[in-house]
């Protein structure tokens, strides 16, 4: 017989968590597909400039990066506020760019060496003097394929 039990205390059922792993895995896969591995830890901070005519850098193994910007907070005491160049994981002088490029290129497969691209990731506030110096060094090292890293601009 059905009986209306009004005064009995009712417990809230425990939340069913059996689908939680699925949800977290979904998140995980989402992040895995939209992000990419960090190449290095940044010692300089930079904000990419904006442009519209962008091309995607195709093969990651053929791309080398040059970072240009002001040192991050933890390095400011040591290196000051001046714009600096970072190669791989360390600060570098512009005279080291040539050697770096040649080293990196000789480590590549022979058929890939001509396809090497150098991506210049510079802060948008950077003065052109230092960029021009970098370009001269790259020319001397015969790294002629370059790409100015930028983000897509939606409007003026």
């Amino acid at each position: 017989m059905a009986k209306i039990r009004r005064n009995e205390k009712r417990e809230m059922p425990a939340l069913n968590t059996s689908s939680l792993p699925d949800i977290i895995f979904m998140l995980l896969f989402f992040f895995m597909s939209v992000t990419s591995m960090k190449e290095v830890t940044y010692k300089v901070q930079f904000q990419n400039p904006q442009a519209t005519e962008l091309t995607k850098l195709e093969k990651k193994s053929l791309v080398r990066y040059i970072y240009v910007g002001t040192p991050t907070a933890e390095f400011r005491k040591q290196y000051g506020h001046e714009t600096r160049i970072q190669l791989d994981d360390a600060f570098a002088d512009k005279s080291e760019i040539g050697d770096y490029i040649i080293n990196e290129r000789s480590a590549m497969k022979e058929q890939d060496q001509g396809l090497m691209t150098v991506s210049i990731k510079a802060d948008k506030e950077t003065r052109m003097g230092i960029i021009a110096d970098i370009k001269q060094e790259l020319r001397r090292a015969y790294a002629l394929k370059i790409s100015y890293a930028a983000t897509q601009r939606t409007s003026y």
Partner: protein
């Protein structure tokens, strides 16, 4: 199970970054050997478009101060020279074969970008971007005209053909101190 996937999730969040690898692709000129004498290449004045950017990021094209938004139309006008203007680059006639036929184009035009040491990187990139955009638009128009498709949809040979009609010639001088 959830703990493990949480752990993995956090690991990926820490080790990855969101930035996509996009950029404005350019090609640098080959270096000049030190023993070679630098020759002044004689470029006819009408074939040359000089774009200067000063330290205050102002733009000057052919001695005229202009806004960055006008640069693209200006460059397109210069590269194509539709009306055979005697002050714009000289037109040459050449037969490109089957679908294109005889085309008049400016073979010898050069766009020279000169910037100051103190020019901002963003301003420089804006100029480069507009110039590349001018070429891209012209190539796209050309592709639509002869192949009835966008430039990006063409196969490699067809793209090469169009690149021949609109060769990218952006020369960059070493930066100078123009002062203000």
């Amino acid at each position: 199970m959830a703990d493990i996937s949480f752990l993995l999730l956090i690991f990926f969040l820490v080790t990855t970054s969101m930035d996509v690898n996009q950029g404005l692709a350019r090609r640098l000129p080959a270096p000049v050997p030190p023993d070679q004498k630098v020759e002044d290449t004689d470029i006819n004045k009408r074939n040359l478009l000089v774009v200067k950017i000063n330290s205050a990021n102002q733009l000057m094209v052919q001695g005229q101060e202009i806004d960055i938004k006008q640069l693209r139309t200006k460059a397109k006008e210069f590269i194509s020279n539709v009306d055979d203007n005697p002050y714009l680059p000289k037109l040459y006639e050449e037969d490109f074969g089957a679908p294109i036929g005889v085309v008049r184009y400016t073979k010898e035009h050069v766009i020279s970008v000169q910037n100051d040491v103190d020019t901002q990187y963003q301003a420089y990139l804006n100029v480069q971007n507009e110039l590349v955009a001018a070429y891209n638009e012209l190539r796209d128009e050309c592709a639509h005209k002869y192949f009835h498709k966008g430039y990006n949809e063409l196969d490699e040979d067809q793209q090469k053909l169009i690149q021949k009609i609109y060769p990218q010639k952006i020369s960059e001088a070493e930066p100078k101190n123009y002062g203000n």
